[in-house]
Symmetry: C2
Subunit: 412 residues, 2 copies
């Protein structure tokens, strides 16, 4: 702790002139890279080699100016960050790029860098000494999009050992600008489920993670294309896609009215049939759940609320059909899905609304409005986290144990 | 084709001022990114946004200087490239980074960018309308390294449908600076095998892809750490690791004498037992093969030549225990593994040596020297390719059909 005191007295020169022993390399660094590193007080130190550059920044939240040392290395230590998984970028003389010292993760439509500010004293998303399931890469052809698609399928630890057993299925979606790898690479879905199942907190289940990007031939793919400011700076002749803020202060471009419809069609025509043909799943709506984060939560509500004969469990993690404004009308909002509370409550076993406490009151207000209208729902708030993966890991950890508890299938 | 003529007449200004229709975005680009793109003559055009930079280069082979346009976008079209998968980097005022417009691939110890210059008229490594197997992510604990490790396991299309069948196993390694994802992300192992199995050219088999990085607690990990010049420029206080050329012209740092031994120990103590406990494998040496590319080929020969009671098939793709110089002595080289040709030929069903034709004559010379000493071996040369993934896809495509043809197991 003395290091902090000295650092505070001398500024950042000392703490960055050496790799201070108490600054631990982020778990997401490339092998052997000492930076970025995280101090016990959650300050983060970065280092970038850019010997001929005039100006180098780290962008994590706002921009943080780096300082050039005599060795051509630029350094900065930024203030304490909240725990969790944070995407960040490096800007070298105006070029917005990933930090070569960190692993990359597909988010914002490109492979950018990330750090993990560790959540203390938790092991629910770590590899523990418990039986481990698998995440399986599965290719299948979609008649709707006329393309080969890839999804990932989590199978529980016992799956291969019990070839007569069948399992319920959770369809689990990523957020905007991410892909079918997000729930494993960023979310650690496999460790969360292995640990829950080992502790007998959760039923063994299959989890299918597909890609929101689903367009028919000739359809506009820009909703799912590289839309971030980072990517578009290298794509000057690509028009700003819907749903984005093209420049600071500019109006948000609206989503097309029919967004998500092709995914829903693809899911029913191609994905679910492939899953039920390929894996040992339990049949029927009470053995199917759908959830997603952010845009994937919005897609979940779009797909499942209109198809309650298919799904009995719904989860929106920082995304649903409500919460963006206060004009919820139980009779008409969300395509009128909540117009008949008694019928809805009979059909939907769990309606889960999760959010990070830093994300604002919208989801809590939506949950309260639903409750006031007589719609049973579970509100889950992740303390101290924002619109990022730690919120969603916690959401899954709370949501999964609620699933399939009334299932009459042969899952052990 | 008129575009080429005009381009040739006017230089690159025109062909880069617009996205010429005949310049096809690389299949490895992020969704929606028009650059980098590949012309029919295999020239490649790049574009990078770096509005305030003084100097921007593409490094693919040698450096290629980019030119800044009035829009702050830097562009260059580089001469025709050989077909295949090429790692490349962008240098912005001395900062060596990945191109934000391309997907990243773990190679050289970090996540750098890559393009695919397509091989014409081939489909052996594409998703085709055939039954598809899975690539499964498998976590397991290593007693040797005292760490959780991840491997990927290819299971053939029929694996789940025939729960009584058992299959032979190929252990398949990546190269230096890559990891257990290489054979799927860069190599397309799953499509190569699906297509071979569907055509009945190859036996259905399990393929286990692990990570060469295996160190015991306290052991020097630098052999496997981020060693590339790119990464080390951000790691100035990290000593140059063995096996690298620290700076142009400097002497190559030697590998430690015991390199690879921990991997071999880990493989026999942890990996193979886990695989044989977890998957339905056929027992015995005639149902086990080992192969690898580059450093993974060297590791294969190090591990398997001394353990011919465990493996009956060996493959070195641009890497083995020979071929680096002309001093092969059948009695003593490769730890004397070839001293008794009759015994060797009886034990080893296939000894496969693959290489790209551009990589030089070393492997051919090694194959000839082995043959002269009476050691049966298969020499495979990939026409027109260098030390990169297209060579190794072709190697696997030629090697896999040779495996397990004498197997007496229940694999169909």
């Amino acid at each position: 702790m003395r290091m902090f005191l000295i650092s505070a007295l001398l500024g950042c020169g000392l703490c960055l002139g050496q790799s201070a022993d108490d600054c631990k390399p982020s778990s997401l660094n490339i092998p052997g890279a000492p930076y970025p590193c995280v101090y016990p007080d959650r300050r983060v130190a970065f280092r970038v080699a850019a010997p001929d550059a005039q100006k180098v920044q780290v962008r994590l939240g706002g921009p943080h100016e780096m300082t050039k040392g005599p060795d051509g290395l630029w350094t900065v230590t930024i203030p304490p960050q909240v725990v969790g998984f944070h995407y960040y970028t490096i800007v070298v003389d105006g070029a917005v790029v990933a930090d070569p010292a960190a692993r990359t993760f597909f988010g914002g439509g490109w492979d950018n860098s990330a750090i993990e500010v560790p959540e203390p004293d938790v092991d629910y998303y770590s590899a523990e000494d418990v039986p481990h399931g698998e995440v399986r890469q599965r290719w299948y052809f979609s008649k709707v999009t006329e393309k080969w698609r890839r999804c990932f399928v989590y199978t529980p630890p016992e799956y291969d050992a019990n070839p007569a057993n069948r399992y319920p299925v959770l369809y689990l979606l990523h957020g905007w600008g991410e892909n079918e790898q997000g729930w494993t690479s960023q979310g650690h879905v496999e460790f969360i489920m292995d640990n829950l199942i080992a502790a007998k907190k959760s039923k063994p289940m299959i989890i299918v993670m597909d890609n929101l990007n689903a367009v028919k031939p000739g359809e506009d793919a820009s909703l799912y294309a590289a839309r971030s400011i980072i990517a578009r700076r290298s794509m000057a002749d690509v028009p700003p896609p819907p749903g984005t803020r093209p420049a600071p202060g500019a109006a948000r471009v609206g989503f097309p009215a029919n967004w998500g419809e092709t995914f829903t069609q693809m899911m029913f025509a191609d994905l679910i049939p492939m899953v039920e043909r390929t894996y040992r799943v339990l049949p029927g709506r009470e053995n199917r759940a759908m959830a997603g984060l952010s845009m994937g939560g919005a897609q979940t509500f779009k797909t499942a609320l209109n198809n309650l004969d298919i799904f009995a469990y719904l989860g929106g993690f920082s995304g649903s059909c409500g919460g963006r404004d206060a004009t919820f009308d139980p009779k008409t909002s969300c395509d009128g899905a909540f117009a008949d509370p008694a019928e809805f409550n009979k059909k939907v076993k769990v309606l889960f609304l999760g959010i990070g406490s830093v994300e604002g009151p919208g989801t809590k207000n939506f949950s309260d409005a639903l409750a006031k209208a007589g719609i049973h729902n579970v509100y889950f708030e992740s303390p101290g986290t924002a619109h990022e993966w730690l919120t969603w890991r916690r959401c899954l950890n709370d949501f999964a144990p609620r699933l399939f508890q009334t299932s009459t299938g042969s899952g052990s």
